[in-house]
Amino acid sequence: MIRAIFQYSFMQNALAAALLASIVTGIIGTIAIEKKLISMSGGIAHASFGGIGLGYLAGFEPIWGGLAFAIGSSLLISKISKSKRVNADTMTGILWSFGMALGILFISLAPGYMPDMTSYLFGDILAVSSSAVVIMVFFTAAIAAVFVMFYAYLNAYLFDEEYALASGINTRALELMIYLMIPAGIIVLIKIVGVILTIALMTVPVSIAKLFFKSFGKVVVASMLISAVFSLLGLTASYYVNISSGVCIVVLASLVYLVIMLTRQRVQSRMHTNKQHKECQHQKTKD
């Protein structure tokens, strides 16, 4: 496969896409988990499919349509989350299915044969074009720049929004940043894991990192590295067995997470028993 990376531009694009997606996962995955916006992120990802379909129908790059729908949904959910009349979770559910339905509708209305949408639904890392990589670089750079620039304030806001507000920090501006970073990040991830599996790539690497690190910055960096490993393994699997990259990544990541969780629980309970045993022996020696 290494030779293929040097030989074929599609493999170089795939490698770049995997690494860019890992940077995005570390940042927006951690933010979404800590701000409890995972369900909203799922809604945004699915709503973006409506824009992708519109792109096919109107003849422009589908990813721009996807981005417009994703940002629109994100801002709508943000606004509704403050309303007492409508539940933001309900609106997320509506946008989730409405976006998917619109996407199918637009694609059905497009003239000619219905295109294969599998790469948008489940991701296809081997089909990432050079122009798509340029778009991904742009969004990843924008997300990373905002995150690094405002890291201290995002940390304060994500940990304790009420305290940040009481301190006089402009929490509305930080909220807006987050509600724009998430849809932009989702657009990057869609190329790798697709609309349907985006949430898995946003949650699993972060959940694994959180098991080992107790600082926000370290969790973000560790999530990026873990995501890079999964994405590269997914790319390898996708290259050799010709299965959607998103499926390979998500199956692998979820299995690794489950194994770590179970092993960790066993190790922790064994350590606890050993500790109790030692304390008992120590007490007996004293007596």
Binding site: F159, A166, S167, K214
Partner: protein, 230 residues
């Protein structure tokens, strides 16, 4: 501010959540370097008063005056923030020193780090700076949040039911800490544990839609012991 030793003055303050008014005509003041207990039934408006003081919500009528140069440090209820958030004690306390105005590429100065370390030592958590928040006991979490308020250089500290999820020993340690802090800070603490909080309070505010001021704590204690209160 009518008297020189008053640091906070509420004058006929009203706040409503939609059509339901949590407090009306709230008039009281807090004296410098005293501990005032905020007591009353659930839903009576204790948290509303704390949040109004902290600036989380804005009053609709009346006025809230804060002595010039005074700064309020807020200690929210433990349920208000995520205790599984990946953050160490030191990092959490450091947030108290963060400047209000958002500055790109903000890094903490040596002085800010020193301030955070001092605040951590003041609440008795020295040596636990690198512990994750999720590795702390309930009492230690409350102490961390108090340290964050101290690190902000606040001279007035408002605490929203800091003892609500603590066991008896942890609560006793917390009251002991508040007793020490009131020598240099003005403290307002909302609590349901009247038997304990009244022991360290200099004054009390009974909140149930309106505010009744008790400058004489022993009188209030007698009422409580006789079962007249609550």
């Amino acid at each position: 501010m009518e008297k020189s030793n008053e640091v906070i003055a509420f004058d006929h303050v009203r706040f409503c959540y939609g059509e339901v008014c949590a407090i009306r005509h709230a008039t009281f003041s807090l004296k410098k370097n005293t501990l005032t207990a905020l007591i009353g039934p659930n839903g009576g408006g204790k948290s509303t008063i704390i949040k109004l003081l902290a600036g989380v919500i804005k009053h609709e009528e009346g006025s809230i005056d804060v002595a010039p140069g005074s700064y309020i440090g807020y200690v929210p209820q433990s349920a208000a923030f995520d205790q599984t958030f990946p953050i160490t004690v030191f990092q959490a306390v450091l947030l108290g020193t963060l400047e209000t105005r958002i500055k790109p590429f903000k890094t903490y100065t040596k002085a800010q780090k020193e301030q955070a370390k001092q605040a951590i030592a003041e609440v008795g958590l020295a040596g636990k700076e690198n512990r994750g928040i999720n590795q702390l006991s309930g009492g230690q979490v409350e102490r961390t949040m108090i340290a964050r308020a101290l690190a902000s250089d606040a001279d007035i500290i408002v605490l929203d039911e800091p003892d609500s999820s603590l066991d008896v020993d942890a609560a006793a340690e917390l009251y002991e800490l508040l007793k020490t802090l009131k020598k240099e800070k003005t403290i307002l603490v909302a609590s349901h544990r009247l038997d304990k909080i009244l022991d360290i309070a200099d004054a009390a505010l009974f909140v149930d839609g309106t505010v009744a001021v008790y400058d004489n704590i022993s009188q209030l204690k007698e009422k409580f012991q006789a079962g007249v209160l609550l």
